[in-house]
Amino acid sequence: MCKQTVLELRVNNHPGVMSHICGLFARRAYNVEGIACMPVNGGTTSKIWLLVNKESNLDQMVKQVDKLEDVLEVERHDNGHEVFSKMTEFVQ
């Protein structure tokens, strides 16, 4: 079984959003292994991909992320996401 999962978030795009999301993981002592972010829709929203370990409280984390006002959608890719398989090439 894959030990990691990818959360794909659609979020509002403004300067505080990243700190809301990263802060949420940090203060619940949940490490984010990888992160990618790109603007979409001409920049009013962004996509954020988070590579995280599957820990016992992952469901709780997803619920907490979903509660954030600036997070419009959360999708979970338990089989990974090619964003990170491509990014891996840069750190080999």
Partner: protein, 558 residues
């Protein structure tokens, strides 16, 4: 129409129905204060510390159930609000803090009185805003009210740079005021499953908390309890949901709950948890909490479900909606054996109230003040022994009567929250039970109480110690009382007199009951000083981290 950002803020607050705002002006929020000064609908309460303003807003919100607003300037003004905001987050209280900020062009330059209010408030708010243009105000302000009040309520911070406050905007129409969203749609199968479990249970217990009060549904909860003959325990935040003397009300559970209350929980076979979050002060050691029970968990916040304890069945939604659907599905049952068992536990292990008849004792003064204040009084407390004693014995009759800092446990909450309560409900008597440790943490706002002549009765039980800390040192640290006793005494009566407040001192008073009655009968703020011994622990007590069955003290017939 053409208005400045500051005028837009004040007009939008008026349109939300705001009539009272507490706060303190400073360089970065002066445009807002200038606009507020022109308002005929909003009265400003000038506090002596921004934390006091935050707790005044909380007092108003807790009593009314509606979002309340407070103002602070940038930098130290904003940092001073943080404890009151974090407190509102932990107890899900809808308050809106509007702070001034240095002009946009100066943000990030370490300007005078600049602090990252947005960054500081991220983890302690439901949501927060740094407003970057005057246009944004038209949706940020109504949205802040909608968010504060919707779903699980909570605090919202709006940080407004000074140049956004002074910028002029021309626009055609005011936005609609922000209101509470309807609750999420229920899943009938979830409710039906919960009903089936309740009907099948032989020894069910209701475990109710602040969420029930937020949902405004205590009448339906009572109907559910009565229909199924389901005994009910309340969290600290849930006190008042059921009248204190209702036969199905087993009182507060947890660390300072009565013995029979925690013992009944040991035996229940179904726990119906509604509007609660399984806080450690309520559950004790979670693995041993209600060891024989299946759990039905009802809450509007999905992230509370399965957070601490995995529920057998959960229902997401507004408790009021859920009860509407649930109530007809629940069978009328007598549950005679369970009723009898609970009654025998209550008879064998009742709540022991030492010295209840002495109006100058720690418990006695609470009971006597309650008698004098009547069923309608609002009761605020600070945090410590006096708080737990009040929670244990005050005869609560209705929701929103009880204001206490539950989740964050903030000493300094009580007196300013009582001022807020008195402002929101000027026709009621507001009692504020406090201790000598707590009152010192916001004592400056006695000046605000005096200036506004609010009808609050501050009852200070003074043991010249941090009593609950001292009690833990007594029980768990070999009686090594370190840093919990004050080396010298301060003269609280003189201090209160200095603030221009009527004082009543139980020290060397021959008839404390009469003195208390006089204080209660005189309108306006009163300060009642009740000297007590530091060696009077609050019992029963579950040691932190222990199971709720491991209570210390409070036994009958000892």
């Amino acid at each position: 129409m053409k208005f400045s950002g500051a005028e837009i803020i004040v007009k939008l607050l008026e349109r939300q129905g705001i009539t009272t705002i507490a706060g303190i002006p400073g360089g970065a929020n002066l445009p807002m204060y200038d606009a507020l000064g022109q308002s005929e609908k909003i009265k400003h309460i000038l506090t002596r510390h921004e934390q006091g303003a935050g707790f005044i807003a909380q007092g108003m919100a807790r009593v009314s159930g509606q979002p309340a607003v407070f103002f602070a300037t940038s930098g130290p003004g904003a940092t001073n609000t943080l404890t009151a905001i974090a407190d509102a987050k932990l107890d899900s209280i809808p308050v809106i803090c509007i702070t001034g900020q240095v002009p946009l062009s100066m943000i990030g330059t370490d300007a005078f009185q600049e602090v990252d209010t947005y960054g500081l408030s991220v983890p302690i708010t439901k949501h927060n805003y740094l407003v970057r243009s005057v246009e944004e105000l038209l949706h940020v302000i109504p949205n802040a009210f909608r968010l504060a009040a919707s779903g699980r309520p909570g605090p919202v911070v709006i940080d407004v740079p000074k140049d956004v406050q002074t910028a002029i905007l021309e626009f055609d129409e005011w936005p609609a005021p922000g209101r509470r969203d309807p609750g999420p749609e229920l899943i009938p199968a979830e409710v039906e499953r919960a009903a089936a479990m309740i009907n099948a249970a032989e020894k069910p217990l209701l475990y109710l908390g602040g969420g029930v009060i937020q949902s405004g549904t205590s009448g339906d909860v009572l109907a559910l309890a009565e229909k199924g003959n389901i005994p009910t325990v309340l969290t600290l935040m849930g006190l008042g949901i059921l009248p204190h003397d209702h036969p199905l009300n087993l009182g507060m559970l947890g660390m300072h709950g009565a013995r029979y209350t925690n013992m009944a929980m040991e035996e229940c076979d179904l726990l119906i948890a509604a509007g609660v979050r399984f806080d450690d002060r309520a559950t004790g050691k979670v693995a041993e909490f209600c060891p024989n029970a299946k759990i039905v968990h009802i809450d509007i916040d999905p992230s509370e479900l399965d957070k601490i304890k995995t529920a057998t069945a959960s229902v997401t939604g507004d408790i009021a909606d859920i009860l509407n659907m649930l109530l007809p599905l629940v069978d009328r049952q007598a549950r005679a054996d369970w009723m009898e068992r609970v009654a025998s536990l209550k008879a064998a292990c009742p709540m022991i109230v030492p010295d209840a008849d002495n109006p100058a004792s720690p418990y006695g003064v609470i009971l006597r003040a309650a008698e004098l204040a009547g069923n309608d009084a609002i009761v605020a407390t600070d945090v410590g022994q006096h708080q737990m004693r009040t929670a244990q014995v005050y005869p609560f009759e209705q929701p929103r009567q009880w204001l206490t800092s539950g989740g964050l446990g903030t000493m300094g909450f009580g007196m300013p929250a009582a001022i807020g309560a008195a402002l929101a409900a000027p026709d009621k008597t507001v009692l504020c039970f406090t201790g000598d440790g707590s009152i010192m943490m916001n004592i400056q706002d006695l000046a605000t109480a005096m200036e506004n002549n609010v009808n609050i009765k501050i009852i200070l039980t003074n043991n010249n110690a941090l009593g609950l800390v001292r009690q833990q040192q007594d029980l768990f640290y070999g009686k090594r009382y370190y840093a919990s006793d004050y080396a010298r005494r301060v003269d609280f009566v003189k201090i209160a007199e200095g603030f221009g407040i009527a004082t009543y001192d139980f020290e060397q008073c021959e008839d404390p009951a009469a003195l208390l009655a006089e204080a209660m009968a005189t309108p306006g703020p009163a300060f009642i000083h009740v000297p007590i011994s530091p060696d009077e622990p609050v019992y029963p007590m579950v040691p932190p981290g222990a199971a709720n069955c491991e209570m210390i003290g409070g036994e009958a017939n000892v």
